[in-house]
């Protein structure tokens, strides 16, 4: 019997004592050692999507297998992280086509969550760039799937949170870039309506966009923030020695859990106000390296400890554009009203949905914020919020979820029955399951 280790997602809630078997070779991706298993990457999902009593860690599967510089096609094992990918791709003039807000997730984890980046409104989620998946299924068989080959398996796996089988390797189409830099334009907004209006105005022309929201402002200033727009900077705009420098490692660390009182409304207010007023002018343009642009949070190692030992939830929802502005303003208003100290609150627009059966993105506004677990009465409050999201035909992002209820989940994901059908086909005995899939009634 393998040893038990305490595992948790990035939100440090919940924690599960699990046996962790590390996969070094493709043959280690099997289901017959345990009654049921879950593939696990970097545990950068926040809640219980990456948790189960028996997990198979794909982190040692970190090899790049093939690269075609003409087409920008990279074939790599699932445990390769976005950072590994960047280290290889940037010096060769390429970048991940879609990246989450941290570079530590694995390719397998990004596929399982069908991640979206700041360019979702323009480019869609990562699924659009996955040309082929090499999988190991519940019965041990090795298959390829893609939009053309076993498309049912492909669209159940992209966004399927590890429940269809092990992704061993994937072929990803990279994006060509002409420098490692981003031209960033930031626009200060006065309130929620203005934030939404500027999104609407800039959608068409920009590749990357995201808004940081001052989560402590109420009333007329509710939803004020900074919209950050970005483009890959062309080579002739760069006045540096090197066009493709890589990032350095992070130096800052949170070596211990912050006590609960450290993050209170006052310290948060100071932080938010400073951040907002950091920029004086209404709009400003700068050229910055990809690292601070895409991965500001990676600068501080283990920053998830600042919310204390009890951990936190990242609450991310999307609602369709129709009435989206009012609904998001209402949701944000209720959260702000409770005085929830979220260090980072982010609003973004998403483009059209893809065929992923459990993929999160649908066209609309998505809001993400941190909710620390301090007192227990936060649960009923969040469940109330979820009801409003259901009413608005919106949904919660599974990669961040730890508390969603079965019924709400089923209402949010109309293709759930289709997903279950495909899962029965490829994994009739539920060899693949997670805490989340048990909670949500998928397994």
């Amino acid at each position: 019997m393998a040893k038990k280790t305490t595992t948790s997602g990035w939100g440090l809630y919940p924690r599960v004592d699990a046996s962790v078997r590390r996969a070094h070779y493709r043959r280690d991706l099997r289901t017959d050692d345990e009654t049921s298993v879950l593939p696990q990457g970097s545990c950068r999902s926040y809640g219980d999507a990456c948790l189960h009593d028996h997990v198979v860690s794909t982190l040692p599967l970190k090899h790049l297998l093939d690269f075609d510089p003409e087409q920008g096609l990279l074939r790599a094992e699932a445990g390769v992280t976005i950072e590994d990918l960047i280290r290889f791709a940037v010096p060769r003039g390429f970048f991940p086509p879609v990246t989450p807000g941290t570079k530590f997730p694995t390719l397998g984890g990004c596929i399982a969550a069908d991640v979206h980046g700041k360019n979702h409104h323009a480019d869609g989620s990562i699924a659009g760039f996955v040309e082929d998946l090499e999988m190991v299924l519940a019965d041990g068989s090795q298959v390829h799937c893609s939009r053309h080959r076993l498309p049912d398996l492909f669209w159940a796996t992209l966004g399927g949170m590890g429940l269809t089988g092990f992704v061993y390797a994937a072929t990803l189409r990279l994006k060509k870039i002409s420098s490692a830099y981003i031209q960033q334009r930031s626009i200060k907004t006065a309130n929620f309506a203005e934030t939404c209006r500027i999104f609407a105005e800039t959608q068409q022309q920009c590749t990357y966009s995201v808004a940081w929201i001052d989560s402590l402002k109420k009333g007329r200033q509710l939803g004020r923030g900074l919209i950050l727009l970005g483009e890959h900077a062309p080579a002739d705009q760069i006045k540096k020695k090197e066009l493709f420098p890589l990032h350095a490692g992070s130096r800052l660390d949170v070596p211990f859990f912050f006590p609960d009182f450290a993050l209170n409304t006052w310290s948060m207010r100071a932080f938010n106000t400073l951040y907002y007023h950091h920029q004086w002018s209404h709009s400003s343009t700068t050229t910055i390296h990809y690292n601070p642009y895409f991965y500001p949070l990676d600068m501080v190692h283990r920053w998830n400890r600042i919310y204390g030992r009890k951990g936190f939830l990242q609450y991310q929802v999307v609602v369709p554009f129709a009435d989206g502005e009012e609904i998001m303003a209402d949701v944000l208003g209720r959260i702000v009203h409770r005085g929830i100290p979220s260090l980072l609150t982010v609003l973004k627009t998403l483009g059209p949905a893809n065929e992923g059966l459990l993929s999160f993105p649908i066209a609309g506004y998505t809001l993400a914020l941190d909710i620390p677990f301090r007192n227990t009465d936060i649960m009923p409050f969040l469940r109330e919020l979820n009801k409003s999201i259901v009413d608005a035909k919106g949904r919660v992002y599974l990669a961040k979820d730890a508390i969603l209820e079965k019924e709400d989940f089923a209402a949010m994901y109309p293709k759930l029955e289709e997903f279950k059908r495909v899962k029965r086909l490829y994994d009739p005995e539920h060899r693949f399951r997670s805490r989340q899939s048990d909670r949500l009634g998928i397994t």
Partner: protein, 243 residues
């Protein structure tokens, strides 16, 4: 420069390979085909030549021809890194001849025979080169929990010492490595480990020590002092300890 790595599937072996700049590689292992992803990754990132070759330390009859097989299939080589090893279950092996023989034959007999022929090859090639042999702190003093493995690894350390003496007048350098506990598949299910090092840390030390032409390396360094103290405990006392 080409390095021949014996037991290239080990996590420590791969960490060493990643740190040996400027080398091409012949990676030897059982079922060496499984190393294809590792080899592909190396070729892509480092643009070096990487060849895979079958090797089983228990196939004693093949060991004499092995250096020439490597030479023919992969090209001439000047560095040999011997990493393979087999821990086994001490308690079970005490009553099981096959298990007993396996531990002795992999860790000592196979290793010593392979290295003898490889040393001849390196010496005859007349080029500057080296041998890195991975032993273990377990070979410094016999303990009830792993003396079979320990005896074989201790034997290998003495073998390497003799080889170093023999090759001292040639340009072939011999480095003996004695790691403490390392976090690898070998130790994944063991309890009661302490001061566990990462393969990366151990490999950093090994490559640095080889470049500096060190003779014996304890890694991490504090194991030298820990083993010194352990070796100083009088046998009268030591034999009663539950170690």
């Amino acid at each position: 420069m080409r390095a021949l790595v014996l037991g290239a599937k080990s996590a420590i072996a791969q960490a060493i390979v990643e740190r040996l700049d400027g080398y091409d590689f012949a990676l030897a292992a059982r079922d060496s085909e499984e190393l294809a992803p590792f080899a592909a990754d190396l070729r892509l990132k480092r643009s070096c030549a990487v060849e895979l070759i079958e090797f089983d330390a228990l196939d004693t009859d093949a060991l004499e021809r092995f250096p020439h097989k490597v030479h023919d299939q992969c090209g001439p080589f000047d560095l040999v890194v011997l990493v393979f090893g087999y821990l086994g279950d001490q308690r079970a092996a005490e009553r099981d001849t096959t298990a007993m023989a396996r531990s002795l034959n992999v860790n000592f007999t196979g290793a010593a025979i392979a290295l003898s022929h490889l040393a001849n090859y390196l010496e005859e090639s007349g080029k500057a080169g080296g041998i890195i042999g991975i032993c273990s702190v377990a070979g410094d003093r016999g303990r009830q929990s792993n003396y079979l493995y320990g005896a074989a690894k201790g034997g290998l350390a003495i073998f390497l010492q003799g080889l170093r003496n023999r090759l001292a007048s040639t340009p072939v350098h011999v480095l003996t490595v004695k790691p403490g506990f390392v976090d690898t598949p070998m130790t994944q299910d063991l309890d009661g480990l302490f001061l566990v090092a990462s393969p990366a840390k151990v490999a950093d030390d090994i490559v640095r020590a080889y470049k500096k032409k060190k003779d014996v390396l304890y890694t991490p360094f504090f194991w030298r002092w820990i083993m010194l103290i352990i070796k100083l405990v009088p046998e009268r006392v030591f034999k009663k300890l539950k170690l």
